[in-house]
Amino acid sequence: MSADVELDHVWIRFGPFVAVRDATLRIENGEFFSFLGPSGCGKTTILRTISGFLEPSQGTVRIGGQDMRGIGANRRPTALIFQNLALFPLMTVAENIAYGLRVRGVPRAEQRRKVDELLGLTALRDQGTKRIAELSGGQKQRVAIARALAVEPKVLLLDEPLSALDLKLRQHMRNELRAIQQRVGITFIYITHDQGEALTMSDRIAVMNAGMIEQVGDGQTVFDEPTTAFVASFVGENNPFQGKVVAAHDGRVTVDTPVGRLGGRNPRGLKLGDDAILFVRPDALRLGPGAGGDTLSAVVLNVAFEGTMSHVFLKGPTRKDIIITVGRGESQRLPEQGETASIHYGAAAGLALPAGRLASD
């Protein structure tokens, strides 16, 4: 049976507060799908709605085509991994993993076999008799995954499971999670506020902001072809230049910004006079005057050498600095602090989007 997860115009309200507004999307069977968004944007709320701890105020959640309304969390084909893992501290590792099986009345021998199999899958062999308190952070993580997989869910829901780990372990666990997903082949729905996690692991990503799903697409699409100002500024570093459209033709616009008239692509069909934000990625900006018209100049505030690359910070038109990333191999002369530098970018690097809220990081 397929286990597509569908949200159909789902609204979730807490009293007058709207936590999720009009979410509609379809997650395919076997997909590694991420919800990416800043803290408080409603990611956990969506996950709890899919797992059955919350009912949508409006709209429908379907799993495998079946309407889930009225079906409690204990009867849905999903398993949730909590942000704080929520392992049972008084049980051993094996007892934790076996809990869901015990609830289902699975015979002991069968429980043991399954637990052994999962201990192997999650690289926890010989840890079965340990208490939870005796495990490291990464091991607890794996126990939580094994406990959830034991009940053979069709969909595994993960709520920022790596956020408590240190950086090294987090990066290691990313690969491990992805490998486990490919081995068990079930749908993973993953929540994170860390774009690196979302980009490296996911087949597709939904970017959320303030209860709204702003864009759904694979990592490359979301990164290269953001459709809203929020997505452009939240996924990856970006330089925004706000202004008004003064020319629009052939899929290109010119935006009049405080630092001059800048050109860019126009995928959203902006028209003359529209408020727009023109985005240029830091690695697409180059030092020195360009051949075409997309050149601006600004005062250099700081130059930060970071090994394989350097960051140049320039005084921007707004509070936010303009950032340029200069790769080590590029033969550009790094400017001095206080100098007024010219910068330019290639015609394809500018992207104009309708004005909207930016991610404030």
Partner: protein
Amino acid sequence: MGQRRASPCPRAGSPVIESLVKGLLFAVPFVIVAVFWILAARERRAAADPSAKSFLERNGGVMAAFLIVAVGFWAIVMIVLPQLYMVDFSFHPKLPAKDYGGPEDHYTLASYRYFIYGSTEETDSYNIVHLRAFVLTIGASIGVTFFSFWFCYPLAYFMAQSAGPARLRMLMLLLILPFWVNEILRAFAMRIMLGTSGLINNLLVGLGVLAEPIDFLGLDIGMYTGLAYAYLLLMMFPLYNAIESLDRNQIEAARDLGAPWWHIHLNVVMPFAKPGIASGCTMVFMLSAGALAAPQILGGPNSLWFTPIVYDRFYQAFNWPQGSAYALILLLTCIVFVMAVMRVFKVNLGEITR
């Protein structure tokens, strides 16, 4: 007739030695405080760490002195010594006050013998009345504890895990406020409610639910209700505290893994709250078994709670040795029982103080 089955216990020594012993007993607290003091002065938090400060240095001289004297005084003078006196008393015969320490005074098991056989001398027949009251008291206290637990657990769970802050505050107030009214007044109020012509019976008869009023008090229902109510908070708060510290996500995790609600309570919530459950049950059991007001005011005419019997030994029979012996028997039985139960449920004494 009158022959002694048990051999007489050895007599206490001469009055001089007796007063010497009593004097020594009074010196004990000071000795203990001194010992505490020396221990405190020598104690290091970690022996391996030479820079660690001693108890005295850590707390400052005045504070340390206060702690040592307060704890020493409290533990020794308020608790241990009086109890030792009671133990000692229970092994003496009943005598006029002036004769204690005199030639008539000697160690004897008479009071204990009386509890079992109903006579200080004979062992032919059992003291049915007292033994029955004793067993009933223990049994009924167990019952009251069970009732109290099953009544409080759902409420404590609701308060700790489900109630919003406003409702929680209101429930807390509703629980605490009635206990501003003193115990005796509450017991009498309950008597008025439960009497044959009390509010509840009038209501039930008036509504036609009952043809005749039920004698709640005579059936001891009043007493059990009163007892359970009197120690409600002592069950409520340990349970509430224990359940409150359980991470809500654990309950949801169990639910997400498919557990029905009763399974979650039995296997996740209760094991976690075990120290609180043990603490609450122990207190309610101990206090019920030793309760005086509720049984006296709400007990039926033919109910015999054990504590009023103990009370009567002291004040009606003026038999302090017997009263002491009875009180000790009750205390020891309760302690042994509680220890045994905690053993069965694998709770250690340290845990329930958390």
